[in-house]
Symmetry: C2
C-alpha cells in the first residue's frame, strides 16, 4: 500500500495522559491520581447537565438532530448572532480541521505564534501546508504583520487566551492584526479559554459579534473548559454565512453524539455553573502564583484555567514531570514545545494542595 506523501510530515498529537494509564503503568489507586494535565474543569460537570445526560441515557441508540437546531439557537441567543452563522464541531478542534480542509492546498503557508495550540500545526500538515511561527509566544501585533507580509499565509491563528502558555491578547491587538491582513487570508480567533480572560480583565474580551462583520474571520469557542464538558466533544465556530456554508461541506453528519447535543443545550442554561467555576479558579490560582514566588521560579501571568511555570536551567521540566507522574500527579511537560516549563491545570483546593506537596518534594 502506498500512502500520501503528506503523512511523512505529520506528528501524532500527544494527548494528556489519562488517569487509566497512570493506574495501569504505576499501579496507583485511581482515587489517588491527581490529573491536572488537560485543563478540564475541576468543578466537574454542572449537576443540571449531568441530570440531563442521565435522563437521556436511554436515547443513546438514536442519532442526534443533525440540524442541531436547539443548540445553535441557544448559542445564537447567547452571542446575539443568527443560527446560520454557527457551525458545531466535535470540540472546536473539529472546526479547526474543517477550516484547514476548505482552504489549504499543498505548500500553502499558515501563521501562528511560536508556542500555541498544537492542533493548528497538525491539521495544517495534514493538508500539506507549511508552518510559519512568530518568534514570541505572545501575539505581538508587529510581529504578526511582519510575518504575514513576508509569507502571505492562507490562515492566521490567533489563540487568545493562548494555550499552552496562558497569556492573552487584547481586543485592540486582535483587531489590529485583523485589520492589517488581506481579505483572502482566513483569520481564526480561538477563544477556547475566553471566559477566564474576560473574568480577569475586560480589555481581553473578544466576542463573535466583534468579528462577524469581517468577511475573513471566524471565532471559535468550546464547551470543554468553563462549561465543564471536555469529555463530550462540543465546540463551535461563528462567522459569516459564506464561511459557515463552506465549512458545512466538510462536516460529516452526526458529528457530535446525541448526549453531547443534550449536554450542550443544557450547559447553556446554567451560566451560574460557569460563574462558580471561574470563581473557584480565581481563588485557587493565587496559591499557584504564591507557590512560584516562594520557590523562586517564574510563571506566565495566566488568563486561562491553567498556569505555566517557567524553570531555569538548573531544573528540568521533563524530570519534574516524570517525578510527579510516578507519584500519580499528571501535569503537562512543555519540553516538546521547546520550553523548559510545565503547564498545570488549576484544580480543586485539595488537588492543588497535593500538587504543591509533591512538586515541592520533586524540586528539592
Amino acid at each position: 500500500m502506498k500512502f500520501r506523501e503528506v503523512l511523512d510530515n505529520i506528528k501524532i498529537y500527544e494527548a494528556g495522559k489519562p488517569i487509566e494509564l497512570v493506574v495501569r503503568e504505576f499501579g496507583i489507586d485511581p482515587k489517588d491520581v491527581v490529573k491536572l494535565a488537560s485543563n478540564e474543569n475541576p468543578k466537574g460537570v454542572s449537576p443540571k447537565v449531568s441530570k440531563a445526560i442521565v435522563d437521556n441515557a436511554s436515547k443513546a441508540f438514536l442519532y442526534p438532530d443533525d440540524s442541531m437546531f436547539e443548540l445553535k439557537d441557544g448559542l445564537a441567543k447567547k452571542f446575539d448572532v443568527k443560527s446560520e452563522n454557527i457551525i458545531i464541531g466535535a470540540g472546536s478542534d473539529q472546526v479547526l480541521d474543517f477550516i484547514s480542509r476548505v482552504i489549504l492546498e499543498p505548500n500553502d503557508k499558515v501563521l501562528m505564534s511560536a508556542v500555541t495550540f498544537a492542533m493548528y500545526e497538525v491539521y495544517a500538515r495534514q493538508m500539506g501546508a507549511e508552518i510559519i511561527r512568530t518568534k514570541n509566544y505572545k501575539h505581538i501585533v508587529d510581529e504578526f504583520i511582519e510575518e504575514y507580509q513576508k509569507h502571505k499565509p492562507k490562515i492566521v491563528y490567533i489563540c487568545t487566551p493562548n494555550n499552552p502558555t496562558g497569556d492573552a491578547t487584547t481586543k485592540d491587538d486582535v483587531l489590529a492584526i485583523i485589520n492589517a491582513i488581506d481579505k483572502d487570508t482566513m483569520i481564526v480567533v480561538d477563544g477556547a479559554y475566553m471566559e477566564y480572560a474576560i473574568a480577569k480583565d475586560e480589555k481581553y474580551r473578544v466576542t463573535p459579534n466583534d468579528l462577524i462583520g469581517f468577511e475573513n474571520v471566524i471565532y471559535l469557542g468550546t464547551f470543554s473548559k468553563a462549561y465543564g464538558l471536555g469529555g463530550m466533544r462540543v465546540g463551535y465556530g461563528i462567522a459569516n454565512n459564506t464561511i459557515i456554508t463552506a465549512l458545512h461541506k466538510m462536516r460529516p453528519p452526526f458529528n457530535i453524539t446525541t448526549l453531547s447535543l443534550v449536554a450542550g443545550i443544557e450547559a447553556l442554561k446554567d451560566e451560574q455553573f460557569v460563574d462558580s467555576s471561574i470563581e473557584l479558579h480565581r481563588q485557587e490560582i493565587t496559591r499557584y502564583e504564591e507557590f512560584a514566588k516562594d520557590n523562586n521560579f517564574d510563571y506566565i501571568d495566566s488568563y486561562t484555567n491553567f498556569i505555566t511555570y517557567l524553570f531555569n536551567d538548573d531544573m528540568s521540566s521533563t524530570k519534574i514531570s516524570n517525578a510527579l507522574l510516578k507519584k500519580g500527579v499528571i501535569i503537562r511537560d512543555l519540553a516538546s514545545y521547546g520550553m523548559n516549563a510545565i503547564r498545570i491545570t488549576v484544580g480543586t483546593e485539595k488537588q492543588n494542595s497535593r500538587l504543591f506537596k509533591i512538586l515541592k518534594e520533586s524540586i528539592n
Copy 2:
C-alpha cells in the same frame, strides 16, 4: 474568501429526518412520531449500557482515555486480532474519512456499487477524487473486476450487507473481488450490518480475521446498529499494522466521547442484547415481506435491519414518503439514489403496525 475548488463537487449528505424536525414542522406530538429512517436499533440501548452511561455521567468533564485501551482490548478479543490492528472512529464513518485522507489525491478514482452508502462518495469528493460505479447495486464479482481493470481506482468499496439496498455479498464473492485486485489499491469491506447477515445465512459471514492477512484490505464495523448505539458514534476499522498506523496520522485526539467509550466497552459485554435485537428483527421482517406481497409490490431480500420496497411507475417513492412524513412516520425515500424505492427500518411490533396502517392509506 477563496475556498478550495474541491468544494464545488461536494454534495452535503442528507441525514434521515430527526423526530424533532417532524415535531417542529408538522406540530405532531413526539410520542406519535414513528422514526424508521436511520436504521437505529428498535430495541433501544442495552440496559447494561444505559446503566453504564448513567453511572459515568458525572465524568463528562474528563477527556477520554485517548489510547482507548479497554475498548480495543474488548474488540481484539471478540475478533481474535491484536489491539494494534484496530482504530476507533466516531462511527465507522470517520474511519472512511481517514481512509480517503491517507490515500486519495485529486483525480484519483474510487470504485463502488451503483447504489451504496452515500458517505463513500462524499469523503472521496472531499479529496477531489472521481467516483466510478458499477451498473448494479449488487456487488457482482465480474462487474467489479471489469471496472477495476478499466479504471484502476485507488479505493474499492464493498458494502456487505449493502446500504441502502439490504442485499449482501457472500464471503466467496468478497474474496474473489479482493484476489483480483492489485495490492496498491485499498479495499474497504464495510460490515456495518454484518451481524444481521450472519444471523440469516452463514455464507455471508465475513470477519476481520478473513481479511487481515491481505496487505490492502480493511474491515469496518460499528456499534450503531446491532449494538444499539447510533447516537454515541463509535465504529472501528481492523487491518494490518501498516494501514492502522497510517490512519492514526489522520485521527484527531479524543475522537469519541468519554461516555461513548464507556458505552462501547459495556456493549461488548452484552452480546445477549445483540442476539435479542436480531431475534426481534427476524420476527418482524417477515411481516414486511408479507405486507409487500399483499400489496403487490416488490422488495429486496434483506440481510440488514431494514427493508427496501421497490415501486412500479404507477407509484412515486417521494409522494409516498411525504405522505407518511405528514402523518409522523419517517422513512427514507431512495429517489436521490436514483431508485423509485423506500427504505424502512424494521421497528418494534407497534411501530411496524403503525407503518403498515399509514402506508396502506398512502398507497390506496
